[in-house]
């Protein structure tokens, strides 16, 4: 028998020009819990997509490298093929049907059925389900994840914690299971459920099935894993045995770029006052996929504060909630004045502006010209650039301001009349900034300002933000998934985990403390929020 049940050797994957995986190797032994660590965008999902033969991989030109199972080269052509080769997946988003019983879910599309007259004529589709045999199998699978629950009850009414275990039971029930992938399995579990899950994982591993454990919780990695592979920016950082490492070391390796990728920006000359610009207390925001759960934050006047954290933890929900774009509950004050939540117009009138992360959806009117876009909010909110009794558009003033902005922000365009939909990403972003500035804000949210734009444009956008902050004294809250960018321009960085600020760090804090903070680990230091 081969030493490794699964080897993925020298995997390289490019989407067009963009290499997302570069020569990555992952080797998993039978009965081992192998943690796969990395930030968002490190390449974990792409690697798993390759393992499952997802259509997205094949339709974009396949990949380089080989996949070896039990010592033999294999080609995995589809998720069904992966399943038949003994690779199973416990999904982060439950793949369960609420209106089906537990048994029906466990046996979905693998039902046990009896043949009869009509099925002999019309084929297997007409075979009648054997609910009793199915239930017996389900019961066995459920007992192996040690939950005692009636296998006939509907999944719909169960607490969320149970669903994860039903997912696992379903995978266990599949014959010849060799490798199981757990994708962020503890994200929705309570602490005690997470402990139980780790126990179940260990007992599955003992039965000889290998587990690939994808998570960002370093505490759990240290508790459960036998071996750990870390990816960063599509490259393999290292594969180590757990006994050889610590949570701090892992955190540093995960983030570990040091000075690399830092942008040079103008240094701060003046001191930041102690006056509070924005005070947020116990704010809840119902933004799908980015829910905020009772966040507290103080933003000082004149600073640039960064909001970092992994995707889905709620960092983007904060600006969207305060600006009234998503339903929110809680308290927020701007310079001592309460902000009315759930009302974008009054948020704008209060003197806040936002550059949205959804540039093409929320940020811009793509069919409209640059100048229309720049003054649109100012016209709507403050009634600027409107003339006389009939409130007609003041074309001359609009043109003048637009030209000024095009020059100051270096927007590359043919004229102020060019539709924004035809601009490049970086230039679109600058139009968004110009539009926010047209409101003469005292306070700005900038959400993912460099998403999807090239390096040169990134530097320009960041320089612009720093300039606005230094010269016009605009307080800026900058949300970004790119930690290096936050560390380049921010005075402080708040890390958001599970919808709350886990801690606030200085830009020069160590890689390890950022890594630990983002993983929600209790070991992290720093100024507590």
């Amino acid at each position: 028998m081969a030493e490794y049940v699964l080897e993925m050797n020298g995997i390289t994957k490019e989407y067009g020009q963009n290499a997302v995986l570069k020569d990555v190797t992952l080797r998993v032994r039978p009965g081992e819990i192998h943690a796969l660590l990395g930030e968002n965008g490190a390449g974990k999902s792409t690697l798993m997509n390759i393992l499952f033969g997802m259509p997205v991989i094949h339709s974009t030109g396949g990949f380089k490298g080989q996949v070896v199972m039990d010592g033999a080269n294999v080609k995995i052509t589809s998720p069904m093929d992966a399943m038949s080769k003994g690779i199973g997946m416990v999904h982060q988003e439950f793949m369960l049907i609420p209106g089906f019983s537990i048994t029906e879910n466990i046996k979905l599309n693998r039902e046990i059925s009896k043949s009869w007259l009509a099925s002999k004529m019309l084929g297997r589709e007409m075979e009648v389900l054997d609910q009793n045999k199915m239930a017996a199998d389900a019961k066995k699978a459920l007992s192996s994840v040690s939950i005692g629950i009636d296998e006939y009850s509907l999944v719909g009414g169960l607490p969320v914690g149970y669903m994860q275990f039903i997912e696992i039971a379903r995978e266990i029930d599949k014959a010849n299971m060799k490798v199981m992938v757990f994708d962020e399995p503890t994200a929705v579990l309570t602490e005690s459920e997470a402990q139980q899950l780790i126990g179940v994982m260990k007992s599955i591993a003992e039965s000889g099935i290998a587990i690939i454990f994808i998570t960002h919780r370093l505490d759990e990695v240290m508790q459960a894993a036998d071996r750990i592979t870390i990816l960063r920016d599509g490259k393999l950082v290292t594969s180590v045995d757990k006994s050889q490492t610590t949570a701090e070391k892992l955190a540093a390796l995960m983030i570990g770029r040091g000075e690399e990728g830092m942008m040079r920006v103008k240094a701060r000359e003046n001191e930041i006052s102690d006056e509070i610009a924005l005070k947020v207390r116990n704010l809840w925001v119902d933004m799908p996929g980015e829910a905020v759960r009772g966040i507290n934050l103080d933003v000082r006047k004149g600073e640039i504060i960064g909001i970092g954290g992994l995707a889905g933890q709620g960092k983007i929900g904060l600006p969207n909630g305060v600006m009234g774009l998503y339903p929110a509950v809680g308290e927020a004050e701007l310079f001592g004045q309460p902000i009315k939540l759930n009302d974008p117009a009054s948020a704008l009138r209060a003197g806040m502006a936002m550059v949205s992360e959804d540039r093409r959806g929320v940020g811009l009117l793509l069919d409209q010209s640059i100048e229309e876009n720049i003054v649109f909010n100012a016209m709507q909110v403050h009634g600027d650039y409107l003339n006389g009794f009939l409130r007609l558009k003041n074309g001359r003033a609009i043109r003048k301001y637009a030209e000024k902005m095009i020059k100051e922000l270096d927007i590359r365009c043919t004229s102020p009349l060019q539709p924004t939909g035809t601009l490049s990403g970086g230039n679109q972003q600058k139009v968004c900034v110009a539009r926010a500035l047209a409101l003469n804000p005292k306070f700005m949210f900038v959400s993912e300002p460099t998403r999807g734009i090239d390096i040169g444009a990134k530097q320009l956008v960041l320089d612009t933000l720093v300039k606005l902050n230094r010269e016009q004294g605009i307080t800026i809250v900058m949300v970004s998934s790119e930690l290096q960018e936050l560390r380049s321009v921010c005075d402080r960085i708040a890390i958001v985990v599970e919808g709350k600020v886990s801690c606030i760090l200085k830009p020069d804090s160590s890689d390890a403390s950022f890594g630990l903070a983002m993983s929600g680990s209790k070991l992290s230091g720093g100024e507590q929020a």
Partner: protein
């Protein structure tokens, strides 16, 4: 992990909310029957007649609903296929039961093919199937006109008995009575009085209960209660007031007869709908209907499953249309219009029965047909009694059909919004908690 508490999820207010439309229609039916002043014996005979006429086609809607494709208004196209089958049968002068079987046999490949195309198209507009299938029905109507006005008679030769005299194209009205010999071909095979039918059904249920008791060793009390209930039903039927409604024995009204074979066919369709859900295919229908993403992840071919659902539904609708055409009291049909309202009335009927865009049962289909048509029967008389104008009743029918469908669509959208709210944070609760703290 600790044991799960069994929640008793039944509550009267929930139940009323869920079946609000049905209860509203029950109330309206009772009101209309009283206001119309019609003889109960007449109402009952008309109701049973319409139930046996329409039930089949309404039952054809169930599978697509369960497969998550909403109300398949494209059953209109199945009805068109059936009319092609009937036309050819009349043309070839095949009469009686063989004629009906021939029409059904022609319908099968035609409706399957149309169903396949409808399914393909609906797969391109997931989430919009209800409206999409309705528009497809209208679109197909154009193609149908072309076929019947031009292609039949010109390209496909037809006998003189079905073409327009002195011109081409199919006659405006096709007659199934007389020499054509298709009228009541199924309905007329075997009639039994309602009274006898009822006692036979009661007896069959009793035998079934006894057999189950001896094979499965069920509880004796349950058996006794069941038999007692059957006896009560049988006894109550002999109360003159009730008995008279169905037999006309005391007031000299008419004896209601049941077309046994038609009812048997409807019964078989009900069994088919129930049975198919116990097969592998049925499990796929249910899985695809409840969550396409999960079904796909489990390796189910979602598009194929949906196409099969629509094909079955279209074929059944075609057969339903044949059953409708041959039934007692119809006998002729408008060649160019008979199919038009099929989807509308069937869709409205199943919704009245308490089905929704994503849930339906045989029982709901039957109850819905019953209630919907009780209003149809009484609307005219009720309107002329109330407003002195029977035309109001006519408007009311159209208003009713579209209104019910609109309400069902709104309720569905509203429930969807409720559910998506439940998925996220419960801000209401958080707000409530905070308000509590302040007090």
């Amino acid at each position: 992990m600790n044991k799960l508490k069994k929640e008793n999820s039944f509550s009267i207010s929930e139940h009323l909310k869920k079946y609000a439309v049905t209860y509203m229609f029950i109330a309206m039916s009772v009101f209309f029957i009283v206001v119309s002043g019609l003889d109960m014996n007449y109402v009952a005979s008309q109701l049973l007649l319409r139930l046996n006429r329409n039930a089949f086609i309404v039952l054809a809607l169930i599978i697509p609903i369960i497969a998550g494709m909403g109300i398949n208004f494209a059953i209109t196209i199945g009805a068109m296929a059936a009319q092609i089958g009937l036309l050819l049968t009349i043309n070839w002068k095949v009469t009686g039961v063989p004629g009906i079987l021939l029409a059904a046999a022609i319908t099968l490949p035609l409706a399957s093919f149309f169903g396949f195309i409808i399914g393909k198209l609906l797969n391109k507009m997931k989430g919009q199937e209800t409206i999409g299938s309705m528009i497809l029905g209208y679109f197909a109507n154009g193609a149908y006109q072309l076929l019947f006005l031009f292609i039949f008679g010109n390209i496909i030769p037809l006998n003189d008995n079905v073409t327009i005299v002195g011109a081409t194209g199919v006659q405006n009205t096709l007659n199934l009575t007389g020499d054509v010999g298709l009228y009541m071909a199924v309905d007329g095979i075997w009639h039994l009085s309602f009274e006898i039918t009822l006692y036979i059904i009661l007896a069959l249920i009793a035998v079934y209960m006894l057999v189950r008791y001896f094979i499965k060793k069920g509880s004796t009390i349950k058996l006794a209660c069941g038999i007692l209930a059957l006896a009560v039903v049988g006894g109550v039927f002999q109360i003159p007031v009730i008995n008279d409604v169905f037999t006309g024995r005391y007031s000299g009204g008419r004896e209601i007869n049941i077309p046994v074979i038609t009812w048997a066919v409807v019964g078989i369709l009900c069994l088919f709908n129930a049975f198919i859900m116990k097969t592998r295919l049925g499990q796929k229908f249910r899985a695809v209907g409840q969550n396409r993403v999960v079904a796909n992840a489990a390796g189910i071919d979602v598009n194929r499953t949906r196409i099969i659902a629509i094909m079955i539904s279209t074929v059944l609708a075609g057969w339903g249309q044949i059953m409708f055409m041959q039934s007692d009291g119809i006998g002729t049909f408008q060649t160019y219009a008979a199919h038009e309202q099929v989807g509308l009335y069937a869709g409205a009927a199943i919704l009245v029965g308490g089905a929704s865009i994503d849930r339906a049962t045989n029982f709901q289909a039957l109850i819905g047909t019953f209630l919907f048509h009780s209003l149809f029967i009484t609307a005219q008389s009720a309107a002329s009694n109330l407003f002195g104008d029977s035309a109001v009743g006519e408007y009311f029918r159209a208003f009713l059909s579209y209104g019910v469908i609109a309400v069902a669509l709104v309720i569905y959208a509203w429930r969807g919004a409720q559910q998506s709210k439940r998925g996220g944070l419960n801000l209401e609760a958080i707000r409530g908690e905070k308000a509590m703290k302040k007090l």
